[in-house]
Amino acid sequence: MIPFLTVFIKSVILILVLTLIVAYMVYLERKFLGWVQNRYGPNRAGPFGIFQSIADAVKLILKEEVFPEKRDRILYFIAPVITAVSAFIPFSLIPIGSKPVIADINTSLLFVLVIAGFSTYGIVLGGVSSGSKYPLFGGLRSAAQFLSFEIPFLLSITAVILQAETFSLKKIIESQHIPYIFPQFAGFLVFFLAGLADTGRIPFDLPEAESELVGGYNTEYSGIKFAWFFLGEYAHLILISSLIVVLYLGGGNAYFIPLPSFLVFLIKIAFVIFIFYWIRTSLPRVRFDQLMKFSWKFLIPLSFLNLIVVSIFKVVL
């Protein structure tokens, strides 16, 4: 009973912390965007607008929900829940610091890879079940984007496993005497770009594309269901950043600097997320054909090349 209780309490704390992080990520992103675009950003709720995200959350819960007439009742209801839940649960396996907080599993990398994919499942179902054209196209685009970028994603992960010879995220961190970004820079590049596409953020935000598809898959969603998609998207962003940190930047290893490992881990994640924000402010959205070409003609050959180089170093030499 006692271990069960500890896990329960740890879970509650982890969920609360994650939600809080997401809330303030959104706030900081908006502030950063405001700063880059020479405007204020949120500045009404509280000093410097720091309560903006909390106000948004309360508003979204209390808001009237509009259920489009032609929706598919069950799928429309379940889709945002799938996205949010599947973006949250991999965090039970991510080694925050040196070991996972809640579940220490040997095949955790596979686990994270598989469950993270379900977030896209929810987006596609949400688009398809709304019974409206824009969400449908958003959902289809999301599916095609996921299908194209999952392969380079998987192949770059394979190269990491090849070097570490394990599926466990914890052991991958332990095996990084030098961060894998140095021996596998091409793999890192592929993983970073495929991850960027996986989160559906700005250069690759075709499923949402508010200037052509209105809001894409979440056009017909309102209130808390919309919030769930939103939350899922940001949680997914944190997940991809923490995977980048774990696989390529040495996780909680501080190497020379004497700091507690979870702090190092959080600083690294914050840095990666900052780069994601930076990219968002700087780049325009790509076209769909460019996206497909980019994945199939550039990322896949590059990830194969990376894999071949790593395996030659590993096996032949």
Binding site: E65, K70, I89, I102, L136, E220
Partner: protein, 117 residues
Amino acid sequence: MGYTGFFVFFLLVLFIGLLLVVLPKILAPKVSEEYKLDPYECGEIPVTEEAWSRYNVRFYLLALAFVIFEVEGVFLLLWALNPRGLGIAGFIEITIFVVILFLGWIYMLAKGVIKWE
């Protein structure tokens, strides 16, 4: 504390997720208006009865290619667990496997599966 911890976390997240989706049913106001629940088409009355239209067959081909390369990726993952133990022989075997499937990739590009006009 392997999968037990995971299950506790999963059930908790699922519970919160479902609870908050149901919550607005109690808290949120409800006002009904004509046209409010119509599918959104920038304020117009929807042109067609159904949102569905037959879409491009390329989506299907993409999914097919995805499944095939995913299978390949899974085998590569397996090999990556023990590359040194399997030695040069294992490396050659996996290379043949990858090269054969690479032909599929070339064919795909040559046939213009990913060309979107």
